[in-house]
Amino acid sequence: MTNLTHLTIEQALKGLEKKDFTAVELTQAHIDAMEKFRSLNAYIVETPEIALKQAAESDKRRAGGKAGLIDGIPLGIKDLFCTQGVQTTAASKILEGFKPEYESTVTSNLFRDGAVMLGKTNLDEFAMGSSNTTSAFGNVINPWKRKNDNTDLVPGGSSGGSSAAVAARICMGATGTDTGGSIRQPAAFCGIAGIKPTYGRCSRWGVVAFASSLDQAGPFARTVKDNALLLRSMAGYDPKDSTSADRPVPDYAAAMTGNIKGLKIGVPKEYRVEGMPAEIEKMWQQGIDWLKSAGAEIVDVSLPHTKYALPVYYIIAPAEASSNLARYDGVRYGKRVTGENLKDMYQKTRAQGFGEEVRRRILVGTYVLSAGYYDAYYIKAQRVRRLIYNDFMSAFEKCDVLLTPTAPSAAFAIGENEDDPVKMYLNDVFTVTGNLAGLPGLALPAGLDSQGLPLGLQLLGRPWGEETLFNVAGVIEKAANFTALPASVQKAA
């Protein structure tokens, strides 16, 4: 039974259907495994009672022939999604104890289809970070370690709890959100797959807001097809989110035909950044070769404004964050620190409730939006954002999909890159462009580096081009045959 946690979602659904095991057994196996891996700190709150109740209901539904698309599948839910009656913190002290009276649309959709919630996964505070070291509830530890080296590594961020939990087999899949790379970079660091869909594909309603014009929810899982199953459930029109798209949700798994003959794969030359490790360069070339031998055509493309993407992001994201986070004032929910008067109460509550990185970004955002600087910074950044968007639209006249590395390095040690915020921000150099242009981006593991750590490849598609991404990713997945496991996560004999 131990190996139940090693199944893919696709396999588990078949097993449930064939009555090889029940949803309760599948869920219990994960609850047991969660206990064993508690040292990873992947969950902020575990919800075993809810999970077992949902699993029992799932078994009943299946027995009655009424099973949903992902009925009985145990998932981790990033603690940025509001879950009714279950503490939702965004990994911030300012929301400690907050129990939403409502359910986010994405989690509602998952529960509608039968998902089981194992708990709320850890993240960088308000999803601001690339290493999961800014959480008020402690660092998440990557289940992967370097060969012969016991140093704790970061799982990536911001959805680091989700990616670590999926990699450690303490959930079959998880939700994430991606504002600058927060699904794709942690997926790469943990050797799993994840997709940030097109902006507007998943409803943002009930997701704690960071930067509203960039935030998008998406799934993590260990295979491309499992991601396809989860995204189908998560996505869809929601009248409660004015930027949610009213268009049908395709059967993404059905798009994975494996046939990519004649498909044009763009390779953007600007993504060959200075100082990129040779192993990542090699992995990228390997990806190109795999797709070529599967019959795709490789096209060199140029995205000339790539180098401006991170500075644009670090104006727009903090600006939107400073506005979104203005709501945390100690009045309606969350933490309150008493003060001499109302302003003093606001200032003390926010200074003590927010961590350092969040305060830094609020200050940057407030500054670039302040009188006299608004045009020079914020409007300027929005103009460059359009140039970046136009780059992609020109590239997609020549190709169908772009292939790039996911991150400029493998997972690094906890504490590395912390002295200099800009150095940490460079983690998102390949992913942030997809958020600025609103494009779908899928990350999947492609191999291990010489230290035994996973490296990922990223596919970027046209708006609403998720089906093509899943299809191409399926081809890479088959060629890469990534079966490596973290040393601590071996299957029972």
Binding site: K99, D329, R332
Partner: protein
């Protein structure tokens, strides 16, 4: 462009974030590092480029002008640090 401690103090006040001298000492150089880095955008000519505020390309829908929600004061107040008689309570603002 670089900012000094006084500007950081002013911005912190606008953002309603209490910050002391030690905090200013620590925060100012880090903010300057970020601001100098984003300064590189100024080198790019963006005359005649329309700002892009949102990529969604979605036409906003109108909903029926009807009551769809409400009558849930208890839920609205459920997470408040302090309430009384169906209201949020804050420190006195009018003498």
């Amino acid at each position: 462009m670089s900012i000094d401690k006084n500007t950081v103090r002013k911005v912190a006040s606008l953002a309603r974030l209490e910050i002391d001298e030690a905090g200013l000492e620590k925060m100012t150089p880090k903010l300057n590092g970020i601001l100098q880095w984003i300064e590189q955008l100024q080198a790019l000519n963006t005359d005649n480029v329309e700002p892009l505020a949102n990529v969604a390309n979605i036409e906003l829908k109108l909903r029926a002008d009807a009551l769809t929600d409400g009558n849930c004061a208890d839920k609205v107040l459920a997470n408040a640090p302090e309430t009384t008689a169906g209201y949020f309570v804050v420190p006195k603002v009018v003498e």
